[in-house]
């Protein structure tokens, strides 16, 4: 099959074409077209086909990672959104959890108050009320009020409507009825209900998720249908599928209904790409480490499985989001992160970033502040003549000036300051990795760090050393790992139900019935999208906590287990691993049931084995590169090597700098570099 992966970033759109039969992969990059990304995507796909000598009609599938939904939220440019909610609770979206984001600030803005997803004038209340434990109807739905609200919202020019009733996760009947009425009154509106998007308790978080789905809905719906149409017009064959935040892809129809599922589309593809690279080296315990200009994305892959974020730790632009996502930890540390001295004299790096404009001083576009990239230039780790394969020349003098000014303020030498910048930014990254490993009972020493993104391979080895790791992998094309990741996943749909059952009085038949119903619901979804539902594989899990606790842990619950004994044992063990303590004598509460349905699809294979190459051929030049610490800089005469000419399988002692078109890899002294036949660079520490 011929698969195309397209990942749209702020500056570039990355594309990769894979022929699953031959294992051949062809990559391509075009400029993004932010005003309408579908233009860049379509052009890129057509160009890529030309480059690969493939007729566009022979493409079988286009898999797409998009930031449309994310950007709409970050820039607060979504649809004019309305809400219909239970009478008495008009301001749940505005009051939130009554907590301020910052403890020590008078002038802060609260995102949901300063930038509401739904303005108060568009939040209408209707008479109805459900109550626990099963969503019994306390007050019936007043349908006339729903009708009147829909008409008023229509008259107000609202484009999208979220229907959010209390306790709808226990009984969605009122929300569904209200949705039908709204559709009758206002068929053009994008309508969403809170229980469809996030059938879990905690009203502020669920309502916000639904409101966000509505807020981004029309934009995403229009975008995916426009893109599908453009690809068709351009003669591109096959269907379009979009990456979701859980690392599965979904149909255009599914994404058009629940765009909120794509919030982490791009980063999720990166994690998948990292996992794919790990497999090329036969490894499945991985830390994926994706560094760009302003931020670093970190995720953990254990035995090939991604960690999923707890629903209570999931935020976009300061808004909570109750949808499943890969657990990706993003910190404000990247190549553009700015070094500064605070008023107390402290040495800080980031989170402020020079971004792409003006960018680091060394980009020669007018930046004057010392950034991480400038530190790498000063130390000789980035070669000004061979940056991005020579596609861009760096201004080393400007970088030295910027770092020099900062060094003077800090009372340090030039090289000590540059090493200090890297030490601080690497320590921040290592702390972020510890928070997802050591703090959760995972020993990072047993994990290989997969370093990618433009800047990941510059920092990977030194960050791994801070974690006492032993191996770093650099994928074949570190700069387009996300696009590769798109080609390694299956179609998937998730379902969740809140259940609230206690381990000492469990209603197993009810749970079994719930699971069966959820699987049927997923199968129906696949069938509705014209997909082979019979091929779907289901995996079950439950969110558990000790009765009384407020946070759940997700534990797998295979269908073949007849009772909950093994489930509870796994929960106690996981609680001990994550929190350092278990309370096996206490009653456990099952809070949610979860099912993921997946339809396998063909994947990007391993690239053809590499052969040949020699150190002599690979050597570009030798030069001084600074390693060591800020207290004791050490200058090493270091070879700059061209990656594609490295000898396969031979161990090369560090220090070395490896050049390629989309990234630069640093191999510090004392490490060993091997270009593996499978395509990765392996750095052993």
């Amino acid at each position: 099959m011929n698969l195309i992966g397209v990942d749209v970033g702020g500056t570039f759109t990355d594309l990769v074409l894979a022929e699953t039969a031959s294992g051949r992969a062809v990559i391509h990059k075009v400029s993004s077209t932010p005003a309408d990304p579908s233009l860049g995507v379509t052009r890129g796909v057509v160009e890529l086909c030309g480059k690969a000598g493939l007729a566009p009609g022979a493409v079988d599938q286009v898999l797409h990672g998009t930031t449309i939904a994310t950007n709409a939220v970050l820039e607060h440019r979504g649809a004019l959104t309305g809400m219909i909610t239970t009478r008495g609770y008009r301001d749940v979206l505005h009051i939130g959890r009554h907590q301020r984001p910052e403890h020590y600030s008078i002038q802060q803005q609260i995102p949901w108050q300063a930038r509401p997803l739904v303005r108060r004038r568009h939040r209408h209340v209707v008479t109805e009320r459900l109550v626990p434990p099963r969503g019994e109807v306390l007050v019936p739905l007043d349908e006339d009020e729903v009708r009147a609200a829909a008409r008023e919202l229509r008259a107000a020019g609202v484009e999208a409507i979220a229907i959010c009733f209390l306790f709808s996760y226990l009984n969605p009947a009122h929300e569904l009825r209200a949705r039908d009425i709204v559709r009758e009154e206002y068929p053009e509106a994008f309508v969403t209900t809170s229980a469809e998007v996030a059938p879990q308790f905690r009203e502020f978080e669920r309502f916000t998720t639904a409101a966000m789905n509505a807020f981004v809905g029309p934009k995403v719906r229009d975008y995916v249908s426009r893109l599908a149409a453009r690809l068709r017009e351009a003669g591109v064959g096959g269907d379009l599928q979009v990456m979701g935040s859980t690392g599965g892809v979904a149909s255009v129809a599914m994404v058009a209904e629940q765009p909120v599922l794509t919030m982490l589309s791009g980063p999720a593809a990166g994690v998948l790409g990292g996992a794919w690279a790990g497999r090329l080296s036969g490894r499945d315990d991985l830390i994926t480490f994706d560094i760009g200009g302003t931020s670093a994305d970190i995720a953990i892959v254990s035995r090939g499985r991604f960690g999923e974020a707890s629903a209570r730790d999931t935020w976009i632009a300061g808004f909570p989001l109750l949808v499943p996502m890969i657990d990706i930890h993003t910190i404000g540390a990247g190549g553009g992160s700015i070094a500064r001295q605070d008023a107390g004299g402290a040495f800080r790096v980031g989170p402020q970033s020079a971004g792409a404009q003006p960018g680091p001083a060394g980009y020669g576009r007018g930046g004057t502040e010392a950034t991480v990239t400038d530190a790498n230039i000063v130390l000789g780790r980035l070669d000004p003549e061979n940056f991005l394969g020579g596609g861009m020349t760096l201004d080393a003098a400007a970088a030295r000036d910027a770092v020099g000014r900062f060094a003077q303020r800090m009372g340090l030498g030039l090289e000590a300051a540059a090493l200090g910048i890297l030490t601080v930014v690497n320590a921040n990254m290592a702390n972020a990795i510890r928070s997802r490993t050591v703090q959760k009972g995972i020993d990072p020493r047993d994990y290989a760090l997969v370093a990618f993104g433009g800047a990941g391979p510059l920092h990977g080895a030194e960050v791994a050393r801070l974690l006492e790791g032993r191996a770093v992998l650099v994928p074949p094309h570190p700069g387009i790992t996300s696009a590769m990741g798109l080609l390694t996943t299956d179609l998937s749909v998730d379902a969740v139900r809140t259940c609230f059952q206690l381990s000492d009085a469990m209603d197993l038949p009810r749970i079994a019935a719930d699971f069966t119903a959820m699987e049927a619901q997923i199968a129906a979804r696949f069938a509705a999208d014209g997909l082979p539902a019979a091929a779907a594989r289901f995996s079950r899990a439950a969110d558990l906590r000790y009765a009384g606790q407020g946070y759940e842990l997700r534990v797998a619950w295979p269908a073949e287990e007849a009772d909950a004994a093994a489930l509870l044992a796994r929960f106690h063990a996981q609680h001990k691993a994550e929190y350092g303590h278990a309370f096996p004598e206490r009653v456990v509460e099952i809070v949610n049931l979860r099912v993921t349905g997946a339809i396998p699809r063909p994947h990007l294979g391993a690239p053809p084995p590499r052969v040949g190459g020699s150190l002599t051929e690979a050597l570009v030049r030798r030069g001084p590169v600074v390693f060591g610490s800020a207290e004791a800089p050490e200058v090493h005469d270091t070879p700059y090597l061209r990656r594609e000419l490295l000898p396969v399988g031979a161990a090369i002692p560090g220090p070395a700098i490896v050049l390629q078109t989309d990234s630069t890899t640093v191999v510090p002294p004392g490490c060993r570099l091997t270009a593996e036949a499978g395509g990765n660079l392996l750095i052993e520490l």
């Binding site: 009051i95 108050q113 407020g550």
Partner: protein
């Protein structure tokens, strides 16, 4: 502190160590929150986590805990060290120490701390290097009535519940079973409370383990020197901010309700005079009302008063929304000297009771902001609306159910933006409980939770709106209330109007409404009775007649203020869904 000479330690090392200490404190807080059982910790986040050195100097605190919990931790440690030294009892590896003495650093009795000492071993022997500490507000502490808030009629420190003064609940690694049994026998809802305490012990131990590893990595001398440099940096940060203030001394006064149904114990002044002395600040609370010897609204000097002052000074002078992340450690508080006459509300003498000091302390924080407003009018908000805590309790079979809910206040208007609506204010930053959680686990029904319309301090920048919450009892039960802000409106600033006071009513199941004061000792309620709780609104900032008429219109369209209010308070005439420009001009010039 060395203010002119550079630090002896490389600044890179300081930055790396600070990040590592913060990572540990965050981990401890995160784990406590996730392991805890009662909603006051896991949902409201009324807990703290911090690391100190061996003398109790704060090194780092957890970012997600509430300031009133993490802030006092260094004070707890110092008092524990003094108490143990007086008893001749050493701190040893394997100890876990429980402490809640409000006359010994604790914020108040229900905020129980668990301290785990951190030791470093090298050739020279075993060294105490610090403490990993968590604090948390416990649902019950064995006071005269159920719950640990609304104990507004305790007549002395003994009536407030159990007092723990540096009690070793684990001694050299051996669990002191007798103490744990006493806890289980003397606290209501022991399953939850003791479960929370065990979660605290587990979380504190993790912090101690991590901190010991960090010390080992840096070496004892290196660790200590680097910590010293880190505190110096924070101190310099605060001193530079203070040095930038104009010279002067600024006095402010506000009042608390006290006990509105008792003429001798109501309308009590809180006074703060802030004086710049070089690059330091003196905050003098002279003029604050004398202590109430037999009612628990006195504020522990260490644990409540100091934290209230620090919080406000830090939030105004080192606002993190403007500066970005500011490391929180002992260095920040060194330049601030706090004085309060002994025997006043802000420096009570034992055994004056203190358990209900929460709202008075927040009023003190607001008073300090009112004083600072005169020095830096562009960095403050107008007066805040104060908070309220209500305890709900009852019997289920033979055990108690106890629930606490904090009722939000609001911020005053701010330069360039309106006040924050319906949030916790100043030194409190807890969370409400989801309605869907409350009703799933307790015999309560939340029948309304919305913004309180048309009651906000008018200003060029409007005060934040309060909330309205209605909570109905589904069974016969008990309740008690500790709150403030029923009698005195939050202050307006620079021509802004005063905010709105809070109100509390009990709507009887059988009809009839009783208006309640801001403090209600434990009382029985019937199934069907409903609390109607109307939160306060913040003061206005700047002349309301200078508010952009378009903003006034927006507020009218959103139903936040009425057209009549727009006309009266803002001089804006609303016509249909627009502004009557001519009428508005006439109103505004004719004032």
């Amino acid at each position: 502190m060395r203010d002119t000479t550079p630090d002896a330690v490389n600044p890179v090392t300081v930055s790396v160590l600070q990040g590592a200490l913060e990572t540990i404190a965050v981990e401890v807080g995160y784990k406590l929150m996730r392991m805890a059982y009662s909603s006051i910790i896991r949902e409201s986040e009324d807990f703290g986590a911090a690391l100190t050195d061996e003398t109790g100097q704060g090194l780092a605190e957890s970012a997600q805990s509430t300031p009133l919990q993490s802030g006092p931790i260094p004070g707890y440690v110092k008092a524990v060290l003094a108490t143990l030294a007086a008893r001749g009892e050493p701190v040893r590896p394997g100890d876990v120490i429980m402490h809640n003495d409000p006359y010994g650093g604790a914020s108040h009795g229900p905020d129980v701390a668990f301290l785990v000492p951190v030791f470093h071993v090298d050739q020279a022997g075993e060294h105490l290097v610090g403490f990993s500490v968590t604090t948390a507000h416990h649902l019950d502490i064995g006071a005269l009535t159920p719950g640990s808030c609304g104990i507004v009629d305790a007549i002395d420190a003994y009536a407030e519940g159990l007092r723990f003064r540096a009690i070793k609940v684990h001694d050299r690694g051996v669990r002191n079973e007798a103490v744990w049994q006493m806890l289980r026998d003397n606290l209501r809802a022991p399953e939850l409370v003791v479960g929370d305490m065990e979660a605290q012990v587990a979380a504190s131990r993790i912090g101690a383990e991590r901190m010991a590893a960090l010390v080992a990595q840096h070496g004892l001398a290196g660790f200590r020197a680097t910590c010293a440099a880190m505190l110096d940096q924070a101190e310099r940060l605060m001193r530079r901010a203070i040095a930038a203030l104009p010279e002067g001394s600024w006095r402010a006064e506000t009042r608390i309700d006290g006990y509105l149904d008792d003429p001798a114990r109501r309308d009590l002044p809180i006074v703060a005079t802030v004086t710049k002395v070089g690059d330091g600040l003196v905050v003098d609370l002279e003029g604050t009302a004398p202590q109430i010897p037999d009612r628990p609204i006195n504020m522990p000097f260490h644990g409540t008063v100091d934290v209230a002052v620090w919080l406000t000074v830090r939030s105004v002078l080192l606002d993190t929304a403007i500066l970005g992340h500011v490391p929180v450690n002992e260095g920040l508080t060194r330049p601030i000297e706090i004085r309060a006459p002994r025997g006043c509300l802000a420096n009570p003498t034992f055994p004056a009771p203190t358990i209900a000091r929460f709202c008075p302390g927040n009023q003190l924080a607001d008073t300090v902001m009112k004083a600072l407003a005169q020095a830096v009018p562009g960095q403050v908000s107008a007066g805040i609306g104060n908070l309220k805590v209500i305890a709900f309790s009852g019997l289920r079979e033979e055990g108690h159910w106890v629930h606490m809910e904090i009722f939000e206040g609001a911020y005053g208007g701010r330069p360039g933006q309106d006040g924050m609506d319906a949030v916790d204010t100043l030194y409190a930053n807890t969370r409400n409980n989801p309605i869907e959680d409350i009703e799933s686990h307790l015999p309560l029904r939340v029948t309304r939770y919305e913004l309180r319309e048309d009651e906000a301090g008018a200003g060029e920048w409007r005060g934040g709106l309060g909330s309205v919450r209605e909570i109905r009892f589904l069974t016969d039960a008990g309740t008690s209330v500790e709150g403030e802000g029923h009698a005195h409106r939050p202050w307006g600033f620079l021509g802004g109007g005063a905010g709105a006071t809070a109100r509390l009513s009990l709507l009887g199941a059988a009809g009839g409404t009783a208006a309640l004061p801001s403090k209600v000792p434990h009382r029985a309620v019937k199934a069907g009775d409903t609390f109607l709780c109307e939160g306060p609104a913040g003061g206005g900032y700047g002349d309301p007649f200078r508010r952009d008429p378009a903003r006034v219109l927006e507020d009218v369209l959103d139903g936040l203020i009425s057209p009549a209010t727009a006309r009266r308070d803002y001089g804006v005439a609303i016509a249909g869904e627009g502004i009557d420009e001519a009428a508005t001009r006439a109103l505004r010039t004719g004032r």
